[in-house]
Amino acid sequence: MSDQLISRDEIEKAVRGHNADYVEIRIDDTAATRLVYRGQELEEIGRTQSFGGCARALVNGGWGFVSFNRPQDIRTRVEEAVSQARHVGTETSVLAPVDPVVDVVPLDVAVDPRTITLARKKEIFDSYNARMLSVDGVTSTNIVYGDAHKHVTFASSEGSYIEQERIDVISRLAATARRNGDMQQSSMSLGALNDFSYVDTLDEAADTIASRAVELLNAPYVEPGVYPVVLDPILAGVFCHEAFGHLSESDFVYENDRMKEIMVLGRKFGRKNLNIVDGAAVPGLRGSFKYDDEGTPAKKTDLIREGVLVGRLHSRETAGKMGEPPSGNARAIDYRFPPIVRMTNTYIEDGDATFDELIGDIKLGVYARNWFGGTTSMEMFTFSAGEAFMIRDGKVAELLRPVKLTGNLFTTLENIDGIARDLDFNQGGGCGKGGQMPLPVSNGSPHIRIQDCVVGER
């Protein structure tokens, strides 16, 4: 940032000299552009500039957290956080040790959206909108485009000082087809870190979405029931995120003895073919970064290796309390929130099957593709497919209206009996937890097959 409102010197001074076990400051400066279309109309175009900071303090195991917009308040706000923490704390503070880091990370950008004029951005999306609306039967569209450049400065009382930058570029295209009272929608969400270039390549995607929405008007609902299902990499990635990823977040576990029993390392969750990984150190994806929001260096963490639970995601506090190494998964969406344990890039590793082998011996099943949404309660998960087909006698058969898949994750992972070797990533999602949404993450998988999955309509 050329015009930082608070200097490094001011930040480092403000974080030092408090009677606390630990203090950190984050300063966040974000400039964003957003375009929204609905139907013929460009409905919204705007630019936002968000500057803010926060201070977090730990005293005797209790946390205080204060966020603010006025830079001149920084010292007072840190003191406020310390006194809050003192008010709460009655135990001993525990944080897993992390070596202090001083680093200014340069922005590694391919095509920078800030170099593309608003006129050009509008021209690109005007053309996608026109393509979708030109398809016979499409009655409306919805397009959201956003880019955000974020500069985050982190400093801690342990001596860390880190500056990081990132640019998120997200796009969502949706088409609605309507006939009489019946309405169907088809959509696609895409994203990239530090690169605008994919935005310029969506002609075919726009055509496909539009014609799919119209086709859905003639498609039947699935007969609700229990089926073998094959998921494409996008949906399997969401499944991996919802059905297992959240359970591996240690803040659900570290103070819960029952959950500790369930999530004991060494527990068998799946078959030998199943390997699940999370890591911000996997480069170039939406969930990638060099340091998390506690200044812990990014890692790649094995969660499930050959079907067995071998690791989990940590903040410094959960790692310290569980006696495990910190994994670099403490993240906050912005300065208004304290960091909590979150996923980064979560994926199922390649297996050895092919797609044809996965569907070949299914007499009656469902092939579900593309992402619509998903959520989890830890024990149960549910997620919706953007499109689905029946599988009949080993072949992909008729198109269905969107389906919803649900299950118990403790049995479902064990029911994955086939994994292909075509790993791909979904970068269009944003994860929500604890009121913090959307956090940039990616998830990925090859095609997978799950036996005995509950499939519902709508």
């Binding site: 968000s50 609605t176 619509f372 149960m380 709508r458």
Partner: protein, 439 residues
Amino acid sequence: MTDLNAVLDAARKAGAQQAEAYQIANEETPVKFEANRLKELNSRHSSGVALRVIADGRIGFASSTRPDDVDDLVGAAMETAPFGPEAHFDFPEQAEAPAVETFDPATASFAVDDMIAAGQSLIDTVRKVEPELLCDAQLRRVVGEVTLVNSNGANVSYRGSMLMAWLHGSLIRGTDMLFVGDVDASVSPDLDTARIERTVTWQLEHARNLATMRTAEMPVIFTSSGVADALVMPLTLAFSGRLVQQGQSPLAGKLGDEVYDARLSVHDDATLPMRPASRPFDDEGVASRRTPLVEQGAVRSFMYDLQSAGLAKAASTGSAERSLTSQPNISTTSLIIAPGETTFEEMVKGVKEGLIVEDLMGAGQGNVMGGDFSGNVLLGYKIENGEIVGRVKDTMVAGNVHEALASVSAIGAEARWINGTILTPPLLFDRMAVSAKAS
């Protein structure tokens, strides 16, 4: 605080024919409990300004939390305007607004120690019912001020306050997980924590046994919380004047039609005293009001903000809502579904085999705009021969809210507030698709 009139002046100098500046200043104080004990005190001090301009007939927008950067703010808004949508409205003049109580000084001065005590007492009470329950809780105090001025003379401002209490408990046995919880919110520090305790106690008592569901069409009761979770969003989306005007709402062209059961009445009301969603003006400076959406089953009106009203040749219903970084959107304030005559007990008694939905997970996915809802029953109970026999698992329910409300079997007599913003009775539907995996 930024001088909003200076922002308007600068916008006009930069070439805007009309301009509107919107400012918020909030103090938010959440007290967080984790694993049955106090964990974290927070406070968020937030402030910022958003500017909308109309220049050569087009709308530009920018917002900033950077104090005093009037020039950048005006520059960014003017830069977007040439590409922005055509404005189909003028910013409103100063309007006569109803007197709506939105602020209680007792909330503003409600002490953090009292919030801590209230949270701990909530947790202690429900753990007397179930000592193994692991509780997270939050007490949250919000005090804020909204100010809006525009170049057509509107200059409005009001203060708001809210206190919210939220309890979430989990009980884990093996890999069986039970989640219970409730939330209440009010402008005054008069939260009904006794209700939260009663609700969670009732949930725990009826969830003790497990019951097995089968896949079939069967009667389904949505409790007030179930209605708010699953049905309200797909229903109210269809009343968005913008979606109606664009032909995206299934209710387009049906104004005045008797689409729903004749016993159904639904309205939106931003003028109720002391409700967290109440306000004298909406977020474009339009006076608040009570808007009937459904009266005796007939579609009575849609909800509009200025732009959608201009496009539809209608009047704004004062339904504009925005955050600092977003442009106004159509939204409900307090949504009220009028109670009927059947008690919850009578509803349950009349069902031979059916499902009660209290908490539906993933309800907002799928074809919501078309009115579809579906989800995994996170907390729900099975009814056999008029009795609640236990909690269900691995069960999904799906339907279309417009079809369902056209043939609702019974509307509950007891309405309750959910999240402080939705007042609804339980609803009973005779036939709804339930799918289950027998375990």
